[in-house]
């Protein structure tokens, strides 16, 4: 009988740290093909529709960046937090509150000049996200309450709050009773960077956030402190890095970036406040963060891969008649494969016969 045996490598394998996400993406494509086959679609054609066709249309690549922008913004913040073992999984709610704060400003002062209004909206978006993230930060540092559960619960609460706002105080009086706000004025709309596309200022800010996040994490003392806290909390205390301060830092940064992502989404592609603002960006960004190796620069290609899964989901719905839930499956399977492949970073995998000496080596395991 054959079975797998894991042997510790002793040190991290840099090669596998880089190769594992690529292998995971490849395996996910194979897995997605198998799922399409199970659903009675020709796998080749379905994969083409899901992964390649969306990029071939003239708006394909720009749209990919539009989808990736919020994922990058949120993913960078989550990556910083996850490195410190601070598990903010309520980014979805922080995204919404950022959109509400910034959008509220847009609706209150539609005629203000853009040069003042838009920066103010961005600040408001960041503050909105921070405000919602501050609650789990306070509850964890003050009462030791698990931030996974509190941040997620607040996302549910925020969803109800958003519905209340767009059906009540912020509803468009001329909107025939639809649950939505008025459209934002031109000065409250995110500037378009590339003509004839929807590529807006948020894309630029997403890339800046990735670079900024990289500098913070790899070069700054605070980023070092976050990494130490995540790997060895006692060593962090020994070094004099205060856990409470770092928990606040991680949650405020990820909350602020999520809020900024929400602001850009409503001020960009959406243009108004709706009961549902995000197709699950806050959760997908968790996968983005892991696929990007919890590294701010790695988050960018990871966000493009997962952004493609949204475009592909839309295409699969229109062209193949598949439910958009295909996107969720693709994302879940991707994270499964990634977590499985990551074992290769710290362990060699050997196939052994039960009770016999090691025999077969898996390629690359040396």
């Amino acid at each position: 009988m054959l079975r797998l045996r894991l042997e510790p490598r002793g040190a991290r394998s840099a090669m596998w740290a880089a190769a594992s996400p690529l292998l995971a993406v490849a395996l996910t494509v194979v897995g997605a093909g198998a799922i399409f086959a199970l659903l009675g679609r020709a796998p080749g054609e379905a994969l083409y529709t899901f992964l390649i066709a969306p990029l071939l249309s003239p708006t394909g690549v720009p749209e990919l960046f539009v989808k990736a922008a919020p994922l990058i913004l949120i993913g960078v913040g989550l990556a910083l937090g996850f490195r410190a073992n601070v598990w903010n999984i309520g980014a979805e709610g922080q995204f919404s509150l950022g959109a509400v704060f910034g959008g509220g400003l847009a609706l209150a002062y539609p005629d203000a000049p853009a040069i003042i209004l838009f920066p103010a909206m961005m600040v408001a978006g960041v503050l909105g996200g921070m405000a919602l993230a501050a609650i789990p930060a306070y509850l964890r540092t003050r009462f030791n309450a698990n931030e996974i559960l509190t941040s997620l619960m607040l996302s549910y609460v925020m969803q109800f709050a958003l519905i209340y706002l767009v059906t009540g105080p912020l509803r468009d009086p001329q909107g025939y009773g639809f649950p939505q706000s008025a459209l934002f004025s031109d000065s409250a709309t995110a500037p378009i960077l590339i003509e004839d596309t929807r590529v807006h200022l948020g894309v630029l800010f997403a890339l800046l956030a990735a670079v900024g996040g990289w500098i913070v994490l790899e070069r700054s003392v605070s980023g070092f402190a976050l990494r130490v806290l995540g790997q060895a909390p006692r060593a962090a205390r020994f070094a004099g890095f205060q856990e409470k301060r770092l928990v606040w830092l991680a949650l405020l940064v990820s909350g602020g970036l999520s809020g900024l992502a929400g602001l850009f989404e409503v001020a960009g592609p959406i243009g108004q406040l709706l009961p549902k603002l995000s197709p699950g960006y806050g959760f997908t960004a968790i996968i983005v963060a892991f696929l990007g190796r919890l590294h701010p620069l790695g988050v960018v290609p990871a966000a493009l891969v997962l952004g493609l899964s949204y475009l592909g989901g839309d295409a699969a719905q229109i062209d193949l008649g598949l439910p958009s839930a295909v996107t969720g499956i693709f994302q879940g399977v991707l994270l499964f494969f990634l977590l499985a492949c990551d074992v290769l970073i710290l362990y060699r995998v050997r196939i052994v016969r039960r009770g016999a000496a090691p025999s077969l080596k898996i390629p690359g395991a040396a």
Partner: protein
Amino acid sequence: MTLALTNFILSVIATSTPLLLAATGELVTEKSGVLNLGVEGMMLIGAIAGFATMTATGSAVLGVIAGAGAGAALALVFAALTLGLLANQVATGLALTIFGAGLSALAGASFVGVAVPPLPALDIPGLTTLPLIGPVLFGQNALVYLSYAALGGVAWFLYRSHAGLVLRAVGDSHDAAHALGYSVSGIRLLAALFGGAMAGLGGAYLSLAYSPSWAENMTAGRGWIALALVVFASWRPFWLWVGAYLFGAIMYLSFYIQGLGIDIPSQAISALPYLATVVALVLISRDRTRIRLNAPACLGQPFHATA
């Protein structure tokens, strides 16, 4: 008056049972040292598997079994990753929830709007018709009785049986358990599978008895509330029961108040169970000593038998 009270109790039982089923499973999983955050995903998969099987076969029994089996199957994926390949348990649990939501939505697309008869309730002539206690004690469906049997069984197993002692030992110190020759991964695998099956049952209760119908994301965060309940109960079965019924009551009340037409935004009332979860977590977690003394010491830590 009696009728109103009876209805209230019956409604609370109905909202509490899925929480109790899922939380009982997670309690066992966590006692063995495994933190599976994928309860929400396993409940969704259990809900659709149960509903689809019931629709296809017309058999409620098969539906319930399919729900439990589907939850356990997803837990097997979790176990393979976290126990076999030593993946991070938090990340894997999140993946389970994302995947479960997607898969259930895909599988359930053709079941939206389909109706099935609710699970049959017990009917003992003479007893079920007694006022108050009749319907409460003798008029429930099988899953309600099962939730009690499971909780009682788990309490007995953990604190009265040798196998339960071994399970607690693995959660307390996997190194010591390994040194004594216990199979840490094997025991954790079984505990995780039990947790998955119970979460699947909780989901099947929603789609077969509570609603009974299928809707995308119909669990609406109940899996996460079940996780919070385990912390709320400080990993003790009796308090798990108290917590599940407390939260069931809060959920029911939030529906009930909306029906009264009081001038509060309905969204504020809908948000109540989630806010209550946050409050409950805060109240329990602030007592660090209690958490420290009751939490399994190895919770969430990977184990690899190197030597």
